[in-house]
Subunit: 275 residues, 6 copies
């Protein structure tokens, strides 16, 4: 549902009662991210922050991507939305020969991904759901935040959970753990397709994370998705006003009846004229 | 434990220290519900809002209903109590022939149940624990709130989670999801017995939802349950005061010793005289 | 990460932007605990409240105890740290002959453990992960709080969850339930080694509980662990400052390069001279 | 894969080696079922016993029923196929008021369903996955077998497992248990749509149960499904012969190249002429 | 259901058809056990091998022990019954200080329990459901078999699974693993009450293990249980004969109607006279 | 435990009783595999078929690879051992853009891996544990068997389970399903490191699959592992004979006492002289 504005509207049926809140307050992009974004990304991220998550889901699905929502992880902060671009890291169960070979060829990928992160990036760690170890912690994430990082999505665990929760980013994990350098996992691949819950995430995907999960939008369709979804939001705003005014659901949602449809089209016309 | 009053009492044993908080602050029924209740329901709901949940559990169990507590779901808001009457909907995995037949005969049951809801109702969706799809979302729930709805209990998922969390109702789910009209589930039965977690819920059952779960009280025994439970609460209030004054647990809880029993009976007598 | 101080530091790279928060605010021991501690425990508990949890984990692990972190339970309050000494109770599935024998020999162990608790104790209940019943509730815990108890860790459930959440202690559970005296479990052993999640807890162990879990420190190594961990914290504070000033991660973390190392050793020298 | 015949064919590439077995031996309907079937059912059941399960799955799915396969249960005998018609029973967690009402109105539904079973029926119990109790046992199933019953599918448990495994039927369960009349469940509905795993089963559905699960075919499409599937089987038999003769997979499966397609069509023509 | 005899009886209703098998073949105690039993145990074990498991369950439950059946484990051989006396061992997650202390005081408890086992014993290992390690393997179990051991029940894993499956005992596990001396578990207690699945097992308990689980009978009630259960079996044998002869279930099971009751009592009288 | 020979030895303590079986019968490599192996592989595979699985586990672990055993999957045939070389395929949740790109570049990887398989290969599919879909079925596996394939290990499902169970290979799966071409998964990588359960498998790894799981041996250490393990087996054979002759466990296992050690070394000397 659209987050652009907080609707607190008195119901027509009982004018003397207090207004009823039926939408969440709007979220804003943290300054540590917004200050570093390019102008084009600032415009894109503003739309991503305000679009209805469910409207965007419908648009992504109708474009042929029904497996696009991660709801197997838990956010550390339930009152935040995060948006950003995926930077992926793949972990596997530890294995000496492969670990030696990979770690000899450069820094571990949690360090590298934080160091190479661009403003608005979201680190996406596929750790296979492992809950007895962590992929990274607050120190590395501090560097990531300084670089303008927007969030971290881990199919597994992180450490330093209270510190992470205080940072101006969004963090999604299976749960937390206190372990440091892992004897049971290793980072093996960087910027490859990964599995998070039941969704495949590609480097460069656009993510929107809310309290109940993370929507994954292929970069190539993000404009189309936003356009469709914002139209969807306009209609839902109109429908919500009708419902708050006391109208029964049948002529309003999911389909407007002819009278309401006419009113909606009129309101859209007026809105466009104002712009 | 009783929610009628917030007990902040200095312990006698260490009078110089600050008082210790040992009970949750009292909750109140949202105005969107209370304003629409009938006078008799207003009285009933006031008692349900203040009775000890565990005291009520004991009373329900002692009436022969040990399987009465749903603790498999998560509330969106942990600091709310909801109370209300169950209105049930049963979902099954999608199946074209049955879906076509049912949906031809009238509106989908999430719409219908919201539209027919009475003030103080709680919608109870049996979705078999499905976490890859949702039963309904914020738009339909807005209509439900306008009608005076009190809560939604879903053995499955809802969408628009941040909006639902902002509404003046209580919502219990397995988790959230962003999906809209489901290709994998369908509503099949309305106002029939349903399974939520390990409890059977019947239409008209009285529900009390707290942070840790939902108590299901058959309507026919609700008066008896409240009477028993409120006596239980009176004794526990007395016991709590003794414990806060520094008395050891053995003569106080679970059974009062003779001296304390006499004091309690005296206090009850005085309380009745005041009424 | 160290909780001693809340670091809000402007990054050197972008002096005009607001400072970035990257650490959690410091926690304090509740007065109900601290007022009752012996002087030596007060000093110990102060260190336990401020040490970095992950630093302590590393120290415990390096002493030969890799299975020392419980992350299978959920705290009722996510913004609290608890510290204290384990007092253990073991539950088993109910069985008439054993129950009769044990309950004939003295009070149930949830009563006894609360009554015998020393200031700063943490009750540790091994209930085998059972989620259909509870080990104890707010009344007994009130007595425990009056005696200076610090927390309750249950591999199972408790009742009266909202009241427990309001008390000045930390509570960890699988989930909540409303049940009182259990027909399916019984307390059988007191102050014996118990299994909580995947960790063995012994009576007298020192516990540190954070949002993401509980660290278990054998009492015999607690001084060594604290010393090691606080040195670790000093280095991480220094590293964090470097990262916040915009330095790349490679010369800073996990290993300082030679230049930074020299600076760190200098800063440590100065710190010691001040003491 | 088609069960009509057991293919043991020597590979052309290594004529001197023993033939390789690549299909399961054919199954037969037990005499206790076949002797009681009507002539039309005997013909239908013969086809159901020999059709390829996966071919039938493809046909059911292509008719618009993708949620048609139950793989959450375990068969007692892994070397049997069962086929039959669903007779459904719905269980719910026990609840005194509803149980009293239902059990006063007639026999419990496990007795009734066994007594009313028609030859070739499969009893389908929706017990919500409960594993601490059973829906029925060997005594009632004996009556069911005498009446020509073909199988029992339980989303839950049965008792008397070794006896059931010895009977000439197929039994699918979550697991076994020894409990008799359940204090925690009750039968509430008969011949209504039920949920088994992730599939909705309707009374009268045609079921095919194999080692790895149960295929659910709506009765209205069973003829179409069988026709499609048997054509599928013919092509797969042809493809399997090519593969066993040593041909590479690319021109053979999943799509025949032109040369092989011509050969297949020729073989089909000859087959029809023989009939 | 009673295993005393294999019932293969032609149904009266269709005399020309083959008889229907509705009971499992009888099991026998392996010679490695029976040869070493005392005369009194030989008599007891013979009864335990032939009594109906479900009849015994009913008797144990009616004596006040409803939590008496373990169905969380899997037997290596599905066509065996095992009977014997529990010898219990408790494992906990590894912990250096406790392990050093315990292992310094004597042999590890898997060795000790095998060495001290008496004929007909069943080793019962509470390993907390751990599946990444094992409690013991074929070598130690060989010693146990030589001493007349009857079975091994592990809430966890064993190694050498194919060898164990070939031995003349019954083995119940969560699953198998290949690990030897465990770095993650240790044996801590011997002959104490333990938790296996959801059942408390005491040293000396009488166990009956079938394909679907293990029944736990307190030693003090075993004679009563056997007497009750064997009467139950007599009635069920009679009922089964009626059902196989084609009688409807209503007058036969679970309650005999008056006519059938009279017949049954007559048959019992005759049976006693023969003895 | 060593599978080289089937030990059925009478115990010395009770010479009149029948011998006790304590080891599984030896397995043999199927002719479809052995006939196609190179001479060097034939020698290697013979050793792999006879070495003790647990002895090999100990050797692999002592070489620095403790995460080497997959016990999360189930074999279709419990009485088979398979050995072979890993050929890996990685699946991810379906996603149109990536699927189109990959499938345009060549055949799906289940076809390709079967077609390119070398004698003695084991196909290893990482499907992320998905149980609602399959990676491949009997038709493709027929081609694989014709090429000398030895087994298939799937962290996910296969179809055509009864046919696969009849083939002369070993198949490990989470469970079976009937689905064909998957709408929810796609093959994305070939011959890369994959995750199966909690183990990383590399192309070319040597696998030994038994009833209770699959041991993963890095190719570079296989000779060392076999040598160590076969020495281990020799000692265990000696120990087993002592135990079967009635010796107590303490001087025999895990460590031989001095007298037994001397006997063992003597027996080894004689064995070498014979060779």
């Amino acid at each position: 549902m659209k987050l652009l504005s907080l609707l607190i509207i008195a119901t027509a049926a009982s004018p003397q009662t207090a207004p009823i809140t039926v939408t969440a307050p709007p979220r804003t992009l943290p300054q540590s991210v917004s200050a570093k974004l390019s102008p084009s990304d600032r415009a894109l991220f503003a739309k991503l922050m305000s679009v209805g998550l469910e409207a965007a889901w419908s648009a992504v699905t109708s474009e042929g991507y029904p497996q696009c929502f991660i709801n197997e992880l838990t956010p550390l902060n339930t009152d935040r939305r995060i948006v950003g671009r995926a930077r992926t890291i793949r972990y596997l169960p530890n294995r000496k020969d492969l670990r030696d070979k990979i770690y000899a060829s450069g820094p571990q990928l949690n360090y590298r991904s934080a160091e190479e992160a661009q403003p608005g990036d979201i680190l996406v760690f596929d750790a296979g759901g492992e809950t007895r170890s962590t992929v990274t912690g607050a120190m590395v994430t501090t560097r990531f935040v300084v670089r303008g990082g927007s969030g971290v999505v881990v199919d597994g665990c992180m450490r330093d959970i209270p510190d992470l929760a205080a940072m101006p980013i969004g963090v999604y994990v299976r749960c937390g753990h206190a372990s440091s350098v892992s004897p049971i996992m290793m980072s093996v691949d960087y910027q490859v397709p990964v599995r998070i819950g039941s969704v495949t995430v590609l480097p460069g995907d656009i993510l929107i994370g809310e309290r109940h999960g993370v929507l994954v939008i292929p970069a190539s369709i993000v404009d189309k998705v936003l356009e469709k979804a914002m139209q969807h939001d306009d209609r839902e705003d109109f429908q919500r006003r009708l419902l708050l005014s006391g109208e029964p659901i049948y002529g309003v949602y999911p389909t407007l009846n002819d009278a309401n449809k006419a009113k909606f089209e009129e309101s859209q016309k007026q809105k466009k004229q104002k712009e």
